[in-house]
Amino acid sequence: MSLKIIDESKINPKKYISKDMLAPANSWYVIVSLVAALILNFVPLQSFALAMRPDFTALVILYWAINQPQRLGMSLAFCTGLMMDVHHASVLGHHALVYCVIVYIASVFRRRINVFSLVQQIPQICVILLVMQSILIVIELLGGANLPGWHYYLKSLSGAIVWPIVAFLLSYPLKHRSNPDAL
C-alpha cells in the first residue's frame, strides 16, 4: 500500500514519455507572446491588485527559456527588460539584468524542470521568481532606496501560481493536432 503511494508521488516514466511533443515555435509567435505579456504588465491597476499582479514578462521569458531555449536568447530578454525599465521610470538596465539572470537559471535547470508536470513546476518557478526579486531589491538598495515591505514578494507567489495557466496557454498552439498512433 505504502509502496504504491511512493510510486505515485515519483515521476512515472510512462507518463514522462507520453508527454506532448511540441512543435518548434515560430519566432513571431515568441515576440507576440512577449508583447502580450508587456501589455498585461502595463495595464494600470489599483493598490491590492497592483501588489498581487505577477510579472507576466518574466513568466513568458521563463517559459521560452525552459521549453525552447533556441527561440529566446538573452538579448531578447535584455531588450524586454529595457522596455520594462522605461515604463517603470526606474534605473535603465535593472530589469534587463534580472531577466538575463532568469534565462541563465532556466538554461541550467531546464532539463530538470521539464521532467515535472506543470503543477509540480510551481515551487521551482517560485524559487526562480524569488531569486529574481531579491536581485532587484539588492540593486535598489545599492541605489539608495528603502526596503519595501514583505508584500513585495507576493508577486513571486502569484506568479508561480499562474505559471501552469501561462505555460498551458503558450504551449496550446504548438501541440500536434493529429494522433501519432493513428494510421
Binding site: I39, M83, H88, L92, G93, H94, V108, A145, N146
Partner: protein, 299 residues
C-alpha cells in the same frame, strides 16, 4: 593549423553570455545614475513601447467611457446646482478681486513690487495622469502632456490644494513627474506661522515628507503649514506644500526629526495642473555662489 570542424555550432556558453549581459546592464545603470550620456536611448525605447502602453490603457478608457455615459443622466441635475453655486461664488470672487487690487496697491506703497513677480503671469496646463509605476521604489507618475504640448523639464505640477511635484523627463507625447515624496526631491519652503526658511525633502515613503537638518530648538509645532518660499526661482512663492504631523526631539541628536504630510493629493487625483516656468532670476554674484550652491542643488 586548422581546428577540427565543430559538429554543433555553439556561441559562447551560457555563463559567458550571462556575464556579458550583466556587464552591459551594469554599464547602463551606471550611465543612467551618474553620467546620463545617452538620453536618446530612453526616448527611443519610450517611443517603441508607446503603442503597447496605449493598448494596455484601453480597458480603463472603455470603462471610463461607459461610466461617463451613465453619469450623463445626472449631469442636468448637477448643471443647475452648479449654476446656482457659480452665481453665489461669483459674488465672493468680485470681493476677492477688490481685495487683490487693494493688496497690490499696498505693496506698491511698500515699494516691494519690484522684488515680487506678479503670480498671475504663470499659466497652467491641465494634464491627466496616465499611470503610476507599480515599482514601490519610484515615486513618479506619467502624465499625458509632452513636448508636443510645450512642456519643459522643471515645470511645477500642482493640484487645487498644493504642490504635487516637478516635471523631470519629457517625452514627445507624455512626460514624467517626480513627486515631492521622492527621496531625491527637495522643495525650498517657509513655515507660514513664523517665516522660517528651510528645505523639505521626500522620504521615499507614500504620503510622507521630512524636514532634515532643523536644529532641536527650532520654533516649529505640529499642524504648522509649510508653503514654498520662492527662493531658487523654480517654485513660485506661497503655494502650500505640507502640514507638520510629527516632531521628535532627542537631546542626543543635533537635528530634530520632523515629518509632514503633503497638503495636495499626491497619490490621489487624476487631473493635475502644470504651471509654466517662472522667469529666470538674476544669477547670484561670484562671492555668494558658494554659499547658495547648497540651496540651488536642492532645487
Amino acid at each position: 593549423m586548422d581546428s577540427t570542424p565543430q559538429f554543433f555550432r555553439h556561441g559562447p556558453g551560457p555563463l559567458a553570455r550571462l556575464l556579458l549581459f550583466v556587464l552591459l546592464s551594469c554599464l547602463l545603470m551606471v550611465e543612467d545614475l551618474r553620467f546620463k550620456v545617452i538620453p536618446e536611448l530612453r526616448q527611443a525605447i519610450a517611443m517603441i513601447i508607446y503603442p503597447i502602453q496605449q493598448v494596455a490603457l484601453l480597458p480603463s478608457e472603455v470603462h471610463g467611457t461607459v461610466m461617463d455615459f451613465i453619469n450623463s443622466f445626472h449631469i442636468i441635475e448637477e448643471n443647475t446646482y452648479l449654476r446656482e453655486h457659480y452665481l453665489r461664488n461669483s459674488e465672493k470672487l468680485l470681493r476677492l478681486k477688490a481685495l487683490e487690487a487693494e493688496n497690490t496697491h499696498l505693496r506698491k506703497l511698500l515699494g516691494a513690487v519690484n522684488t515680487i513677480h506678479a503670480k498671475t503671469t504663470a499659466k497652467a496646463v491641465m494634464a491627466e495622469i496616465l499611470y503610476t509605476p507599480r515599482d514601490p521604489f519610484s515615486h513618479k507618475i506619467t502624465v499625458n502632456k509632452g513636448r508636443q504640448h510645450g512642456i519643459q523639464p522643471g515645470q511645477i505640477v500642482i493640484d487645487y490644494k498644493g504642490i504635487i511635484g516637478q516635471i523631470t523627463r519629457v517625452y514627445p507625447l507624455v512626460s514624467e513627474v517626480t513627486l515631492i515624496t521622492d527621496k531625491d526631491h527637495s522643495v525650498p519652503i517657509q513655515i507660514v506661522r513664523n517665516n522660517i526658511r528651510t528645505v523639505i525633502s521626500g522620504t521615499g515613503k507614500n504620503n510622507e515628507i521630512e524636514l532634515r537638518y532643523l536644529s532641536v530648538n527650532t520654533d516649529i509645532r505640529e499642524g504648522d503649514l509649510l508653503a514654498t518660499s520662492g527662493i531658487g526661482g523654480v517654485y513660485p512663492r506661497g503655494l502650500p506644500v505640507a502640514v507638520v504631523t510629527g516632531i521628535k526631539r532627542h537631546p542626543s541628536d543635533n537635528f530634530a526629526q520632523i515629518t509632514g504630510t503633503p497638503v495636495a493629493g499626491v497619490d490621489r487625483n487624476r487631473q493635475v495642473l502644470i504651471l509654466s516656468l517662472s522667469p529666470a532670476l538674476p544669477t547670484s554674484p561670484e562671492n555668494l555662489a558658494e554659499e547658495s550652491s547648497v540651496e540651488s542643488e536642492n532645487n
